[in-house]
Structures are given as structure tokens and as C-alpha cells.
């Protein structure tokens, strides 16, 4: 008797596995075995009509993605690539539904094994609507983001692995996959790699200096203006915010004119005041870089000032009162209260600004077009070009789409790396210091 019961229980216990296997073989079969007929029926319909009918579509799309077309002038490789990516994303969705179906069969089988009844269709529908409400509301947004952000992103990344340039342009030619050859070439090929290294170096220096300078000046002014002893603080603050209120591209173009060597107002002023020679602001690499950082400082410090003012005003006043009671000096208050709290709130902002400046195309392009030229650099690169403006030149002047895409991926990896590393550090910083 006893072994028989045990056997029976074991048999019953296996329902979860059976259901899971059944659902793996054909969607919905497991649900039917579990006695959930409506749900099972829906899954079966999905499998029979959507999945089976779409198999030829997927085969065609993936073939297209691999071969990128066969007949020049008729097949357009870029279309094949886009269709392939769409198929890939759809496949992921179907795969998710498929996995959900198996998991569902397994879970409900488990309930049956434990002697419980799985929820009825009505109740599970209700649960989906209740529990999944945020996801249902989010889904249109997610679908749009997939279509307009993720799809083009994958597309432009894939270009880096093809030979897409002028001489292989569709529709006359069919693109080929070339693996990581483009990366290899950009990073190692004689003058290209030299150009890449130089531009990369300047990009990093530029990002650091532009971030530090704006936040330095902005912070200095914010702390100064946060002192209640200064009169007309609001007016001064408003005046200082003005550079930020003018559209940046207008003021950059005005700066470009003002910095002209022989005709610009800045040199005229400097010559009259200090009796020096004209400074070739935009015509020598060193001065062009100095000019860039100064103009960026002028444009960027008000933003930093506002941010830091906000942070300063959120520091509770009782900390200072306590410090005064303890007999702290002004410097000690600043050093031990203001600065740590400021840095703590500012760290993520600094990282974001750094990432922003790393890709700050506007100012580089508008102020001096990446110039002045440096003899021997490739791809039209100039002395103040950063990676992103170099990519622009590569794409639109040299029609080297594959190289441009490869460099964008490199930029992406660098920025993503920086951001992830820094954000993680910020959090550990917060957990260690703030919980004391």
C-alpha cells in the first residue's frame, strides 16, 4: 500500500515537468495538461498561426542579414540590414513569450503537484492587469523607444562591421561583413592611428579641463554669493546667469568673430591694454585650445553656479550653528561641512558633465570647425577636433561610414565605462560616508 501511494504521489509530482516539456514542444500543450483550457488554447493559436507562419519570414530576414542582398541595383544592403534587425527584435519578443509559456506551465504544474488548484483564466487575467499595469502603460513607450532608439543604434553599430564606404555604396554594390577589420585599421594603420591617439588625448584633456573649469568658477561664485553678507545677491546672480540664457550657438559664433586675429575685438583690446602682439587665437593649436576652454567656461559656469547654489541652500543650517557652538572658524566650516556635502551631491553631476563634454560637438564645430589644421593628420582632423567632431568629418567629408561607426562604438565604450565606474564609486562613497 505505502509504496503505491508514494508512487502515485511521485507521479502527481511530475506534473510540473510534464507540463513544462509539453509546453516546450508545443506552446499551450502544458497548460491544457494542467487543465487551463482557455489559456492553453490561446497559446496554441499563437503557436500555430504566429510562430509557424512566421518561420519563412525569419529565415528570409536572417538570410538577408547575413548576405546583405545578392543582386546589386535591386537589393539594397541597408534595407536588408534594417529588416534583419527588426526580425531579430521580433524574435526576441516571441522568445520571451515562449519562455513565459514554459515557465507558466511549470509553475501551475507545481501548484497541482502540491495539491493546489491553478488560478482560473479570469483570475489570472485580472492578476495580469493588476500586477502588470505599469508594464501595460509603459509598453507603448517601450515599443517607440525600441523603434526609434534601439533599432537605429544597433543599425549604426553594425555598420562598423561592414565595408560601407563610397566605393562599396549600395545600391550599386552589396555590402560585405568584414569583422573587426575597421577597428583594427583605425587603431593601427600608420597615420590614422596617430591621428586617433592625438585626438583621443585632446578629447580627454578637453573633457577634464572644461568640466573642472566650469565647476570651479561656478562653485567659487556660488559659494561667494551664498554669503548673506553680500548685498544685491539676486541682481548679481541674475547678471551672471545671462551667458547661459543666450542660445549657445549664437554666442559661440559671436565669440568666433571676436577672437579673430586681425579683426577681432579681443586682440584689439589686448593690444591696447598690454601692448602685446596679436594672439593667433584660432590659428594655432595651443591658442585655439585655450580659446575653446575659455569660451566654454563663459558658456558653462552659470549652469554650474545654479546647480551648486541649489546644493548649498539645501545644506541644513543647524550644522553650521553646531559648528559655531563648537568654535569652528569660517575655513573649518567650509572645509568640514560645505565641501564634503557639496562634493557628495556634485559627483554624479560632474560625471554627467564630463560625459557631455566628451561629446560636446556644438562648441568644437561652431567655434573653429575643429581647426586649425595639423599637418599630417588624417581624415581632415584639426588641432581642436574631439572624437565626435572627427566622426562628423569622416562621415560627411570622406564618406567613410564604416570607420565613423567604428569610432563611435569606441566612444560609446569609453563613455559607458567611465559612467558605470563612476556611478558605482559614487554609490559606495555614499554608503560608507553618509551612514556614519
Amino acid at each position: 500500500m505505502e509504496p503505491q501511494i508514494q508512487k502515485k504521489i511521485k507521479k502527481i509530482e511530475n506534473r510540473r515537468c510534464i507540463a513544462a516539456i509539453l509546453s516546450t514542444v508545443f506552446m499551450g500543450a502544458g497548460q491544457i495538461a494542467n487543465g487551463q483550457f482557455i489559456k492553453g488554447f490561446l497559446f496554441i493559436i499563437f503557436n500555430a498561426f504566429v510562430i509557424i507562419n512566421s518561420i519563412p519570414y525569419f529565415i528570409r530576414s536572417f538570410q538577408g542579414l547575413v548576405t546583405l542582398g545578392e543582386t546589386p541595383m535591386k537589393d539594397h544592403s541597408l534595407f536588408f540590414m534594417v529588416y534583419g534587425i527588426i526580425a531579430l527584435l521580433l524574435l526576441l519578443v516571441i522568445l520571451a513569450i515562449y519562455l513565459f509559456n514554459i515557465r507558466d506551465a511549470y509553475k501551475n504544474g507545481k501548484l497541482l503537484d502540491n495539491g493546489q488548484k491553478p488560478a482560473s483564466f479570469y483570475i489570472s487575467l485580472k492578476r495580469i492587469i493588476e500586477g502588470g499595469y505599469p508594464y501595460i502603460v509603459l509598453s507603448p513607450g517601450l515599443i517607440v523607444i525600441t523603434a526609434i532608439t534601439i533599432l537605429p543604434m544597433i543599425f549604426s553599430m553594425l555598420i562598423a562591421f561592414t565595408n560601407y564606404d563610397l566605393y562599396h555604396s549600395p545600391p550599386k554594390h552589396i555590402l560585405d561583413w568584414v569583422g573587426i577589420k575597421n577597428f583594427y585599421k583605425v587603431l593601427t594603420l600608420g597615420s590614422w592611428s596617430k591621428t586617433f591617439r592625438n585626438i583621443f588625448g585632446w578629447t580627454v584633456i578637453w573633457s577634464i579641463l572644461s568640466t573642472v573649469s566650469t565647476f570651479g568658477l561656478g562653485g567659487f561664485l556660488a559659494i561667494l554669493l551664498n554669503n548673506p553678507r553680500i548685498k544685491f545677491r539676486k541682481i548679481i546672480r541674475t547678471l551672471l546667469i545671462l551667458p547661459w540664457a543666450i542660445p549657445a550657438f549664437v554666442s559661440i559664433l559671436i565669440w568666433r568673430g571676436m577672437l579673430n586675429t586681425n579683426f577681432g575685438i579681443i586682440n584689439k583690446l589686448l593690444v591696447q591694454l598690454f601692448n602685446i602682439n596679436n594672439i593667433p587665437w584660432l590659428y594655432e593649436v595651443f591658442w585655439a585650445r585655450v580659446a575653446l576652454i575659455l569660451v566654454n567656461l563663459w558658456l558653462g559656469f552659470p549652469y554650474a553656479m545654479i546647480l551648486i547654489t541649489g546644493i548649498l541652500q539645501s545644506i541644513p543650517g543647524d550644522l553650521y550653528e553646531a559648528a559655531i557652538v563648537d568654535g569652528a572658524s569660517g575655513w573649518q566650516k567650509f572645509r568640514n561641512i560645505t565641501l564634503p556635502l557639496l562634493l557628495y551631491s556634485m559627483a554624479p553631476l560632474l560625471i554627467m558633465t564630463f560625459a557631455y563634454n566628451f561629446n560636446n560637438f556644438n562648441i568644437i564645430y561652431l567655434l573653429n570647425d575643429g581647426g586649425p589644421a595639423v599637418f599630417g593628420w588624417q581624415g581632415g582632423a584639426g588641432g581642436t577636433d574631439i572624437l565626435i567632431s572627427w566622426i562628423f568629418k569622416l562621415t560627411f567629408q570622406k564618406l567613410k561610414y564604416n570607420y565613423a561607426s567604428a569610432i563611435s562604438i569606441i566612444i560609446f565604450i569609453i563613455i559607458a565605462g567611465f559612467s558605470i565606474y563612476n556611478f558605482r564609486r559614487t554609490r559606495s562613497f555614499q554608503e560608507e560616508e553618509m551612514l556614519q
Binding site: 541595383m73 539594397h76 590659428y283 599637418f375 567613410k400
Partner: protein, 401 residues
């Protein structure tokens, strides 16, 4: 039986559809504004005469090739497109243009240099309708006329050049190949050697003796104080409008503003250089092309031939103030009366078509990047121009990898 019926039904359907499209319709892409309006205007007349419908879609010339590359294979492209001739090489490499059958064309009356401009690798891809080049625009109040030789001209403008009094003699974008090529060509330099099969990309003539001589002459514009460092086209355009500049190198796009600014300006072709040669400036030519994807190429060809005939070319000049690419229009008294365009037309007929091969893209930047070093006196032309040519060759090499 069933299949036969199906087939019959299908055939009837296809026939029905083809009857529908029998009223031929040609789609033309043109930049919006005067260009688009002109094609619309004469297109109506063409429809009256031949029954062929003309649909004009406003698409900027510079973005047409990108659009055609995507729309053409999908069957949505235009039959006739239009863009500057320097994009021909690029678009032929992309497979967008149909080479015109030479036996059906007759170039009597067309300006020879403009027809040369639409050839690529020995084949002809379009019919030119307008051209553009640089010439000397001068202020008649400061310099009543342009002397017959360039040396005299330089002497004259140097007299007028008084930077301390905010008066300048002569300016131009001397760091850009397009604006200075006239000097290089007059002394025997060239960009790519012209051969029977088109331009030879391996033979670059920007470091020849003539080119070096020309660059030395151009350098004297800087060293003599005519064109200080830092001038830009905006700056000297502004100076000219204020009446502070006697003469400049510029193109037909500029003088509209001077009319408005009430400047007593004149336009003259470049005077002879000391070797007796006239500068052959680079000319940009706008042309109509037939899409390789068009299904009515013959009809389209008939239309663009009609569009660029003498009568319509003259009309185009009247409507859009272009410089026609037909000698028989330029010689008309009605055109000769227009002093502004006449001077540009004379210069353009002396000109050399802008190289239309895609390799040309690798030339502009190195030249623009090298010349400032020479003007600063950091390097001599003899030293650096050969290096520049090597760099251009390397760029071309890499472009093809």
C-alpha cells in the same frame, strides 16, 4: 483550367494597370525656389506640346543623391534629378545615374567646358544648364576699372591698401583651392591630369613648377599686407559692403547683397598674368541627369534635351538669373547687356570644369590645411607642396581600401 482562368485574369489586370500609366509622367526633383519654379513653368508648356506630364518635386540638390540611393531601388525615385557636377563621380559609383547615349545627342551651341564637366570615365551623364565660377568683384568708386594685366592690378590695389585707415585693396579666400585655382592653372598646374578616359588620379599637378610659382604669387598677397591673417569671407564681404575694400575674388552668389547695400560695384574676369595667360578658374556646372532606376529613360532624355535647348536656356536665364551653358545664349545681345553675368560668363568660358571624380573630395582639405603654413612662412612651397600631394595620394589610396 482554373489556372488558365487565373492567368487570364492576371493578364487583364496587368494590362489594365499598364493602360493607366500610359499617359507618361516624368518626375523631376529640383531645389525649391527659382529652380523648381522654372521647371514647373516650362513643364506646363511641354505637357501642352507633347502630352507628357511633368511633376516637379522640391528636393534640395545637395540631398537628392542620398534620397535617390534609397528611393530608387524601391521604385519611388525621380526620373530626372539635378545637382552640381562635382557629385557626378560619387553618384555614378553609387550606381544612381544612367549614361546618356551619345549618338542621340548633339552639342551644337552648348559651352564646351560645361559639357566636359558632365563627363565621367569617358561617359556622359547629364545635360548642363547653369555654371558658376569666381571672378573679381570691385568697387567702381575706389578702382574705376580693372587693368589689363594682373601686375598692374596688384600695383593699383596696393596703393589703395591702407589698413591703418581701414581701407583695404584686395581680398579673397586664398586658402581655398576653388578661389585660387585660376592662378595655379595659368602657370600650368592642374589637379588631376586630363586623359582620354577621364581624369588620371595618379597624376596630381599641385606640386609642379607652375603650381609652386602660383602659390608664391599668392603668398605675396599676404606678405605685401593685402590680406592679413584672420580674414574670412564674412569679413571681407562686410568690408566690401561698407565700401572699405576695393576688389575681391568672389562668385555670383555675392553681388545680390551689394546691390542692396548700394555699392557701385563692377565685375571683371581675372586679368592676364605675367606669362600672358588668363587664369582658368574652376567652374561648377549644374546639370539634369536621368536616374538609373527610371523606367522612362528615353522620354526623360527627350525632356531634358528640350529643357536645355536655346529657347528654354534663355528663359532660364531670364527667370533665375543663371549663367547659361550655351554659347548661343551667351552671345545673344539680351544677355550681353547684363554686365554682371557677362563678366562671369567670360570667366566661366575660360574655366576648367571642377573635377567630378570622387577622389576630388580628398584634395580640398589637404590644400586648405597646407596653404596657411606656407603663408605664415613656416615652410616653403617647394618643400611642402610635394608632401601635400603625397598626402592626397595616400588619402585616395585609403579611400579605396
Amino acid at each position: 483550367m482554373k489556372r488558365v482562368v487565373m492567368l487570364l485574369v492576371l493578364m487583364v489586370l496587368v494590362l489594365g494597370l499598364s493602360f493607366n500609366v500610359e499617359a507618361t509622367k516624368l518626375v523631376v526633383w529640383e531645389s525649391s525656389g527659382t529652380e523648381e519654379e522654372f521647371v514647373k513653368l516650362v513643364g506646363e508648356k511641354y505637357t501642352e506640346e507633347t502630352g507628357v506630364e511633368i511633376e516637379v518635386v522640391a528636393i534640395d540638390q545637395l540631398s537628392q543623391s542620398d534620397k535617390l540611393a534609397l528611393d530608387g531601388p524601391a521604385g519611388k525615385g525621380a526620373d530626372i534629378v539635378a545637382w552640381p557636377n562635382d557629385a557626378i563621380g560619387k553618384t555614378v559609383e553609387q550606381g544612381l545615374l544612367w549614361p546618356l547615349p551619345k549618338d542621340k545627342l548633339n552639342f551644337d551651341g552648348y559651352t564646351e567646358s560645361a559639357v566636359r564637366a558632365v563627363r565621367y570615365k569617358g561617359k556622359l551623364y547629364g545635360l548642363p544648364y547653369a555654371m558658376e565660377t569666381v571672378a573679381i568683384i570691385y568697387n567702381k568708386d575706389l578702382i574705376p576699372e580693372i587693368p589689363a594685366t594682373f601686375d598692374e592690378f596688384l600695383e593699383k590695389v596696393l596703393e589703395l591698401n591702407k589698413p591703418n585707415e581701414q581701407q583695404y585693396g584686395f581680398m579673397g579666400q586664398i586658402w581655398k583651392l576653388y578661389h585660387i585655382f585660376g592662378f595655379i592653372s595659368a602657370y600650368g598646374g592642374y589637379v588631376f591630369k586630363e586623359t582620354e578616359n577621364g581624369l588620371d588620379v595618379n597624376d596630381i599637378g599641385l606640386a609642379t613648377e607652375g603650381a609652386i610659382k602660383a602659390v608664391k604669387l599668392i603668398k605675396t598677397f599676404r606678405t605685401s599686407g593685402l590680406m592679413p591673417e584672420g580674414i574670412t569671407d564674412d569679413i571681407f564681404d562686410g568690408l566690401f559692403q561698407e565700401g572699405k575694400l576695393a576688389a575681391q575674388i568672389s562668385g555670383p552668389w555675392a553681388f545680390g547683397n551689394y546691390k542692396e547695400a548700394d555699392i557701385n560695384y563692377g565685375i571683371a574676369p581675372f586679368p592676364k598674368l605675367d606669362n600672358g595667360e588668363y587664369p582658368h578658374t574652376l567652374i561648377g556646372v549644374k546639370a539634369y541627369y536621368i536616374s538609373a532606376f527610371s523606367e522612362q529613360k528615353e522620354e526623360a532624355l527627350k525632356f531634358i534635351k528640350w529643357l536645355t535647348n536655346k529657347e528654354n536656356s534663355f528663359k532660364h536665364y531670364q527667370e533665375a538669373a543663371i549663367i547659361p551653358t550655351r554659347d548661343d545664349v551667351i552671345s545673344l545681345p539680351e544677355f550681353q547687356e547684363n554686365e554682371d553675368l557677362r563678366a562671369f560668363a567670360i570667366q566661366a568660358r575660360r574655366g576648367i570644369p571642377m573635377p567630378n571624380i570622387p577622389e576630388m573630395m580628398q584634395v580640398w582639405d589637404p590644400v586648405e590645411n597646407t596653404l596657411p603654413f606656407i603663408f605664415k612662412g613656416q615652410v616653403s612651397p617647394e618643400e611642402v607642396l610635394p608632401i601635400m600631394v603625397e598626402q592626397i595620394k595616400e588619402n585616395i589610396e585609403q579611400m579605396k581600401q
